[in-house]
């Protein structure tokens, strides 16, 4: 397993690390049992533009790099754009991830969407369907990765 230069760059110099005290939307996804937790903070202005974004992550190199890349991809963009962010866009922007790390990119996508959901809820609104995440999606990917590993082992 080797990380791309881009992943290592974002791991070594993660962008937008931190906390926004008066965030418009906040979300934490993942669980410590699996070894990845991401917390995402969004500051959204009256024009529905994400003016600031910060993250905190507990996890491996890929978890930190995908969080960092996700924040870069949505900063300065509209909420609608942020909701279009996919995990594969994060993977692509990072010039690839090892197969067993794809679940980290799923977590990054979910962190963004969950934080947007929180932004809607904070204003007493129902989040749009594209902001609703399957909380277990990264676990499913994680399980699929585990199954692929086991299958590879059985073959070998």
């Amino acid at each position: 397993m080797a990380y791309s230069e881009k992943v290592m760059d974002h791991f070594k110099n993660p962008r937008n690390v931190g906390v926004i005290e008066d965030a418009s939307g906040v979300a934490e996804v993942g669980n410590a049992k699996c070894g990845d937790i991401m917390k995402m903070y969004l500051k959204i202005d009256g024009n529905e533009t994400i003016t600031d974004v910060k993250f905190n992550t507990f996890g491996c190199g890929a978890a930190i790099a995908t969080s960092s890349m996700a924040t870069e991809l949505i900063k300065g963009r509209s909420v609608a754009d942020a909701l279009k962010l996919t995990n594969s866009a994060v993977v692509e922007a990072l010039e690839g991830l090892p197969p067993v790390k794809i679940h980290c990119s799923v977590l990054a996508e979910q962190a963004v969407k969950s934080a947007v959901s929180d932004y809607y809820r904070k204003r007493g609104l129902t989040p749009p369907p594209e902001a609703i995440i399957d909380e277990h999606a990264s676990e499913h990917v994680y399980e699929a990765e585990e199954a692929a590993l086991a299958a590879a082992k059985a073959e070998g």
Binding site: M8, F11, K12, P14, V17, G18, E28, A32, K33, C34, G35, D36, I37, M38, K39, F55, N56, T57, F58, G59, C60, G61, A62, A63, I64, V100, K101, Y142, E145, E146, L149
Partner: protein, 389 residues
Amino acid sequence: MTVYADNAATTKVSDTAIAAMLPILKDNYGNPSSIHHVGQEALKILDGARAKIASLLGAEPKEIYFTSGGTEADNWAITSAATNGAKEGKKHLISTTIEHHAVLHALKRLEKNGFEVTLLEVDSNGLVTPEQVKAAIRPDTALVTIMFANNEIGTVEPIAEIGAVCREAGVPFHTDAVQAVGHIPVNVKEQNIDMLSLAAHKFHGAKGVGVLYYSKKLKLNIFQEGGAQERGKRGGTENVAGIVGLAAALEESVANISENAAKVTVLRDKLIAGLTKIERSRLNGDPIKRLPGNVNVCFEGIEGESLLLMLDMQGICASSGSACTSGSLDPSHVLLAIGLPHEIAHGSLRLSLSEYTTEAEIDYILEHVAPIVERLRSMSPVWAKIVNK
């Protein structure tokens, strides 16, 4: 600057081992099975290495079988002892929850084939007791296999006592001594061991060569067909250079074992003392019954792979029991077995030293670990929760 602190993964080949191996590759390249003088010279060299290794382990030359390494030796011993037990209707195997996967997976395969496996639980320091073994032995027990010292947390098991329990019960006893040989005293006769696995590259020999010691009192099954090598049990031309290097490295390690252990233990304890000064850290494994070179510490609120990558950026080579580094997606089974919760097991760091480690390197490691832990914690939501509690 490179600080190599991953000697439990592998060690650098010593000058002594290289000096022993080079002439075999260059000059004594004969096949020990050949009838001509070049082959016979190689056979003499091979026999010499076998005799030397046997005497260093307290065994007889005919009880030494060369293998490709520790994993093969573990698989061979376990499969052979289990198969022979089954012939007498004994299909029960005893081991522990903290064995290397070479043992655990071999046992799992036997379990699928109708054997019953009892995995003894260890205490919070990773220790299993002879009493536990005694209580687990049944009339149909075919084998007890318990590691000499754990590769992750360095805990040294009471092998001689466990061996005595097995001998009294008439049950064959195997030990995976891959981490122990060359570092702490190992003697199959004095320690009541019937079968033992070792690998050259853990004590400054080359990779790809190991030994299975198998007592002449027990029947050893054929591992692979294809020749009369290794008393007909393992066909295939011997890795003569690797074997000679193994013998030389073992001889050197055993000759200096007390001196090296004393030196490395001082460095180990300095490293442990320094690392456990970091807030919310803990030492894993027994503080006393511990391999001289093993340090294993958990830092709450961070994940091991990130820690390793950052240490590597400073030139420090280490390892971790986190999921991301275990080649699977779960944290180390050893850390879970000693009772650590998943989230703490993810934050483990193993530093394994050797007699080549210097005090300056220990200072360098100590200088760099704390700021890296601090940096990772500063961006960890898990840590934020711990400190806000």
